[in-house]
């Protein structure tokens, strides 16, 4: 349990908690021969693990892309052996500043355990044309669509998503090596705004 008096960020809380426990145990086991060596190795792995978790949760991470809803940007061919791995950054979550054309990873509104990757096509206040005429994207929401319109389950099905669901912005493709490059912000010219 973490009190809201400490930090609002659970990972930072957990990290501080673990560091305190680790320092206390360090004081206790200081003169125990071979157990010292095992403890030293454990300490190293624990530190690396904690630092790794903190970094990937707050600053940046790597993520595999499955599916072809973002072809040709990611996974351009159906029969490829490996999925594309992308680098995503989480600094944008500080102020929630996104813009048109950003590729973002977000929790699916129909199933919170799934994550989807799509491109932001319209932000709050923009108008989107659909079969019922034009509708306005509400405040705090954004309209996301996949680059491969034919096979993409996106805002055309589940509507605009709250910006709070976004977990990070994709900046680069880092695997496979022949496809390593920066992911550009691309703004579609057709049917975007009135």
């Amino acid at each position: 349990m973490f009190s809201t008096l400490l930090f609002m960020d659970p990972v930072l809380n957990f990290t501080v908690f673990q560091v305190c426990i680790y320092l206390e145990l360090d004081l206790v086991i200081t003169d125990m021969g071979t157990q010292n060596i095992i403890w030293n190795v454990c300490k190293k792995y624990l530190t690396i693990g904690l630092v790794g978790i903190t970094l990937t949760d707050r600053y940046a991470g790597v993520c595999p892309i499955r599916g072809s809803s973002m072809s040709p940007t990611f996974n351009p061919s159906l029969g490829s052996f490996t999925d594309d791995y992308v680098f995503l950054e989480k600094f944008c979550l500080d102020k929630y500043k996104f813009s048109h054309g950003d590729v973002v990873i977000f929790s699916s509104p129909t199933n919170y355990k799934e994550r989807c990757v799509k491109r932001i096509v319209a932000m709050e206040g923009d108008y989107i044309s659909n079969v019922n005429g034009a509708s306005k994207v509400p405040e705090g929401h954004c309209w996301v669509e996949g680059d491969n319109s034919a096979s993409s389950f996106d805002s055309r099905s589940f509507g605009p998503i709250p910006i709070g669901l976004i977990h990070g912005r994709v900046t680069h493709v880092i695997w496979p090596p022949q496809r390593m490059r920066k992911v550009d912000r691309r703004i579609r010219q057709d049917g975007l705004a009135f």
Partner: protein
């Protein structure tokens, strides 16, 4: 620390400190009747404290404007969403205004109040 009048009389206007945990919602152990912290769908930097009234695929009947007549509407909560309402129907901006919110916006579950000490205990 929570503030605002939308959860009165359960939580006071200002100055209540509550203990909340950030694990239950990841395991899916959140159910109607729980007070939760959610990210506002209208402003992702704001955190709201509201009570869950219905989970996905349940029906909600609510009165459209509690201070003005008896009109009521019935809504089915779509898949992956929850319906939240503040305890104080007259002064709460919640799902009756912005609709059901995706489950992914839940940030934590409020367990109990720790301050002021006179009212400490579960909500």
């Amino acid at each position: 620390m929570v503030y605002g009048s939308s959860m009165m009389p359960t939580l006071n206007l200002v100055g209540d400190v509550v203990l909340s945990e950030y694990i239950s919602h990841r395991l899916g152990k959140v159910s109607p009747g729980d007070v939760v912290l959610i990210q506002s769908p209208e402003n992702p930097k704001k955190t709201l404290t509201k009570r869950i009234v219905a989970m996905e695929d349940e029906t909600v009947s609510f009165s459209v404007d509690p201070s003005d007549g008896d009109r009521s509407r019935t809504v089915v909560v779509p898949k992956g969403h929850v319906w939240i309402q503040g305890d104080n129907s007259y002064a709460s901006h919640d799902s009756r205004h912005f609709g059901p919110i995706p489950y992914g916006l839940i940030q934590g579950k409020v367990r109990c109040r720790v301050w002021p000490l006179a009212c400490a205990g579960s909500l």
